[in-house]
């Protein structure tokens, strides 16, 4: 089966500015991949090429095996833009109906009801968009992206306007999508969010992928912290596999051990290391 999304050698230039400089990235079926990077790294450009909103200068992108931007690709994907607006005069139900028609969805009212329930907007069904808070509009945007049961979703900063409760709802939603086998490319600045839900992470800096892998693969051991009578001692350079021998040596040496913590680099540290000076 073809990958849900694949990019090969993607380059995008806007005049003298190179937004993407030979990006290769893949998202497998049912996989949830987080895309990280500082402002201007090229994340939104990559997502927009995937959606067919931007044409690459060179390279290729495919969605579920068909060329990104083609009618066939647009029929199997959903998209939530970073900066989006819906017509203020439309109600939530009217907006979803419009997108059902545009997507050729036959889900009807049951699909709309289910989607609004999924994003916690059941009560706002007849509310006009212009009367909704930013967070409600963002949740409606996610529901809109899910119209027509897409196989692949591009979510560009889906939680940027949400409060902590709203973010938790979206995390639950992403986990539900994973259970349903929907692949997601999630573009976000919220490292904790990416760490919690994503199978894999790609870090983009100055138009290139500078790190990629599972969060656990990217993490490096930073040492082991042990609580003993004299306080907390740090054993730098050791990892999880060294813990039994370390504890045995300490106990044999007459120390009382109260707690042990294996320290690893956090996603934030990995990110900052990967993007270097570009971080600020």
């Amino acid at each position: 089966m073809a990958a849900a999304f694949s990019a090969r050698g993607l380059v995008k230039r806007y005049g003298p500015v190179t937004a993407l400089d030979g990006v290769d990235l893949g998202v497998e079926e049912g996989e949830l991949v987080g895309l990280l990077g500082p402002n201007g790294a090229g994340k939104s450009t990559l997502v927009k090429i995937g959606c067919g909103l931007v044409r690459p200068s060179s390279g290729e992108a495919y969605v579920c095996g068909v060329r990104a931007g083609s009618r066939e690709a647009r029929a199997v994907m959903g998209y939530l833009a970073e900066l989006f607006r819906f017509p203020g005069w439309a109600t939530a139900d009217e907006l979803l109906t419009l997108h059902q028609r545009l997507a050729g969805s036959t889900g009807g009212e049951s699909e709309r009801r289910e989607l609004l329930e999924l994003v916690g907007l059941t009560e706002a069904r007849a509310r006009r968009v212009e009367t909704m808070s930013k967070g409600m509009q963002q949740r409606l945007g996610i529901a809109q992206a899910l119209v027509g049961t897409p196989r692949f979703l591009f979510l560009d900063e889906p939680t940027s306007a949400l409060d902590p409760g709203g973010r938790r709802t979206v995390r639950g939603l992403l986990e539900e999508l994973r259970r349903r086998g929907v692949a997601v490319l999630l573009n976000s600045h919220l490292l904790s969010e990416i760490e919690l839900v994503c199978d894999r992470v790609a870090i983009l800096s100055r138009g290139s992928i500078v790190a990629e892998g599972r969060p656990s693969e990217l993490a490096r051991p930073r040492g082991v912290e042990v609580d003993v009578d004299g306080g907390t001692r740090l054993f730098a350079g050791l990892g999880r596999s060294d813990v039994p021998r370390l504890v045995a040596d300490l106990v044999a040496g007459g120390e009382a051990v109260y707690g042990v913590r294996v320290l690893e680099t956090t996603l934030e540290e990995i990110y900052l290391e990967a993007v270097g000076e570009d971080a600020g």
Binding site: K48, L53, R55, R74, Y79, L83, F84, F86, L102
Partner: protein, 288 residues
């Protein structure tokens, strides 16, 4: 339901539910009220003069002259209001809506860019066509009720006014691919103004018997065919008027009225296809 029908339906609902439509309705009501007042005053003044004064030595029919002049004025206002509506419905269609983030969720759907643009055009042209027909009918009814005057041709001019607003909508859609909403609005009204100025130049050219001015005006009215459509429609409302009354009409606001001939409609359709093709080609290549 086809993609085109979905987009047309969406654009029609948007047209009718945006506040600008209410503003246009209020402006229209204001215009028709003023038009009724002006028409009443004009006919009363002319009729009272005809009753008390001597007959015009040149045989100019004052009643005909008044009716045609007032109705010609209403056609100009109808075109202007229709142009305002056409511009407001389309000026932000591509770049303006993309900058606000309204366009992207629609473009990524399978319906595609050409259908999106075509649907927007069909909706705007339909709304403007119906609007122009209603205002035209309102002015016709007022003129007939107050002055018992009707134009020599009734259907042709209103179809031409509707087509003129469709041309303006098409130009505005083309402009929306390249320009932000405000810049496009300014550009559309400048183009509209250029068409009107061309008409006035033609009038001055005829009065001065200047072939150069007349040629410039004629060329401009074909480059901007909404002006040619308007002039031809204006000409049609007094198509059967002859003699000194016809001569008197050309000295007034009707100097701009010009019969365009059989080539007008083929050229209008070709022009719409050309503008539409340019807009589609530019939109297809545009990064959003």
């Amino acid at each position: 339901m086809t993609g085109l029908a979905v987009i047309v339906g969406y654009a029609l609902r948007e047209s009718l539910r945006r506040r600008v439509f209410l503003v246009v309705l209020l402006l229209t009501a204001g215009f028709l009220g003023l038009y009724a007042l002006g028409t009443k005053e004009a006919f009363e003044a002319v009729d009272s003069r005809s009753l008390s004064g001597p007959e015009d030595p040149f045989g100019v029919d004052d009643h005909e002259l008044t009716g045609a002049t007032m109705f010609g004025l209403s056609m100009f206002a109808t075109l202007f209001l229709g142009a305002v509506l056409a511009a407001f419905l389309t000026l932000a269609t591509v770049r303006g809506d993309a900058e606000r983030g309204l366009l992207q969720p629609l473009v990524v759907r399978p319906v595609g860019r050409p259908v999106l643009l075509a649907g927007r055009f069909v909706a705007a042209a339909s709304v403007c066509g119906v609007y122009v027909a209603l205002v035209y009918a309102g002015a016709l009814l007022i003129t007939w009720q107050i002055g018992e005057w009707t134009p020599d041709r009734i259907v042709g001019p209103v179809v031409q006014l509707a087509a003129a607003t469709a041309v303006i909508a098409a130009l505005s859609l083309l402009g929306s691919v390249f320009l932000s909403a405000t810049a496009n609005g300014i550009a559309v009204f400048m183009v509209f103004g250029a068409g009107l100025v061309a008409g006035l130049l033609g009038q001055i050219g005829e009065a001065l018997a200047s072939e150069t001015l007349t040629n410039v005006a004629e060329t401009a009215s074909w480059v901007l065919p909404f002006e040619a459509l308007y002039q031809d429609g204006l000409d049609a409302i007094t198509a059967d008027t002859r003699g000194f009354t016809e001569a008197a009409l050309t000295l007034g606001p009707f100097g701009g009225a010009q019969a365009a001939g059989a080539f007008l409609w083929p050229w209008t359709f070709a022009y719409l296809a050309l503008v539409g093709g340019l807009a589609l080609a530019a939109f297809a290549r545009k990064d959003l």
